[in-house]
């Protein structure tokens, strides 16, 4: 259940961002999870639901996007989607391919509700 450890890192990053932004209520955290990231989306969501209330409000939403594994061929530069974990270029059949997307867990954006500007006007 390493998804809990990833959620811990995620919430820590979001906390830092909120602090830099001057506070506010986090309403949505958008995350991309690659097919080769080793993350099970359902367990990731469950861990998030379990842990988010201790840091942010429980109505903070996790928007999860699944990213297919994409690679580029080192020989012919053909870019293609890896299907069924076949790490071979479909054009020139070479096995020298570089994964360019799909092996990471990425924090895409954080949506914050704040009344900073109203306070600014009031003062």
């Amino acid at each position: 259940m390493h998804e809990r450890s990833l959620i811990r890192s995620l919430l820590r990053q979001v906390e830092q961002i909120v602090a830099v932004e001057g506070g506010g209520k986090v309403t949505e955290i958008r995350v991309q999870v690659g097919d080769l990231s080793g993350v099970e989306p359902l367990l990731f969501q469950t861990a998030f639901d379990d842990m988010v209330p201790s840091v942010f409000s429980s109505d903070c939403r996790l928007a999860l996007e699944i990213v297919p594994v994409t690679a580029v061929c080192s020989e012919c530069e053909h870019q293609f989607e890896i299907v069924d974990f076949q790490f071979r270029c479909p054009e020139c059949q070479t096995k020298s391919v570089q994964v360019i997307q799909g092996d990471e867990v990425t924090l895409i954006s954080v949506s914050i509700n704040s009344n900073n500007s109203i306070e600014g006007v009031a003062s």
Partner: protein
């Protein structure tokens, strides 16, 4: 109320990866090759380490950090041979860098040629955590079945070597070295494949030669003058 969205685009593990890179560099500079050993429970990580320690005895220095959910049984087996520290995860399915650093501290941060991390027996979660290793090795025993690479692709994709263990049992089990190698190479074409039997010692010399070669190759960059890097 002011609603806004801050675009971040940052790896969730970016901080941990940066810390691991710093630790890898620190250990590499002083000549320690860090080897992360991963496998299912019972694949033979401890037995391979015992055989490695016996082979290197008096020639190469090594220390072992042993990860387990509970007990220090593996650490007790290894302690007569090499400096060893137990990392008890208390239920967690993988090791993290902070535990590795705690283990190193417990050992007095020894200056050894090889630091082995015996990860928690699990082919899933440990694949997602950088422990500052220079070399990631996945073990697969002949008793497990030759279909594992395709079932656990991330583990095999992120490893640089695969060691087939319990080779002596090959005549008794439905396991094909060719099939497992093909399956693994489909996922990681550059994976180095080794095979051995730690109990009778066959293949241990080749495994240790591979480690020596990796030590020389991977740590060479740290010995170059700064201008050449």
């Amino acid at each position: 109320m002011n609603q806004r969205t801050i675009v971040v685009q940052r790896d969730v593990q970016a901080d941990q990866k940066a810390d691991a890179a710093t630790e890898r560099e620190r250990l590499g500079r002083r000549g320690t090759l860090v080897v992360n050993l991963l496998s299912s429970p019972g694949a033979g990580k401890t037995t391979l380490l015992e055989a490695t320690a016996r082979h290197f005895a008096g020639r190469r220095s090594m220390a072992v950090l042993v990860g387990d959910l509970e007990t220090d049984r593996d650490a007790k087996r290894l302690s007569p041979l090499v400096p060893v520290a137990q990392l008890t995860t208390g239920g967690a399915c993988h090791l993290e860098l902070s535990l590795v650093q705690r283990g190193l501290k417990a050992l007095g941060d020894p200056e050894v040629d090889f630091l082995f991390i015996e990860n928690v027996g699990n082919l899933v979660c440990p694949a997602s955590h950088d422990l500052a290793e220079h070399l990631r090795v996945v073990l697969i025993s002949t008793t497990e079945g030759d279909d594992k690479p395709g079932k656990y692709p991330k583990m095999f994709r992120t490893s640089q070597a695969m060691v087939i263990t319990k080779l002596d049992l090959l005549p008794h089990v439905p396991f094909s070295v060719k099939a497992v190698t093909e399956d693994a190479h489909r996922i990681q074409p550059h994976l180095k494949v080794l095979a051995n039997c730690a109990l009778d010692g066959s293949g241990i010399a080749s495994w240790c030669d591979f480690l020596e070669e990796q030590h020389q190759q991977q740590l060479a960059t740290y010995h170059e003058p700064a201008g050449n890097r």
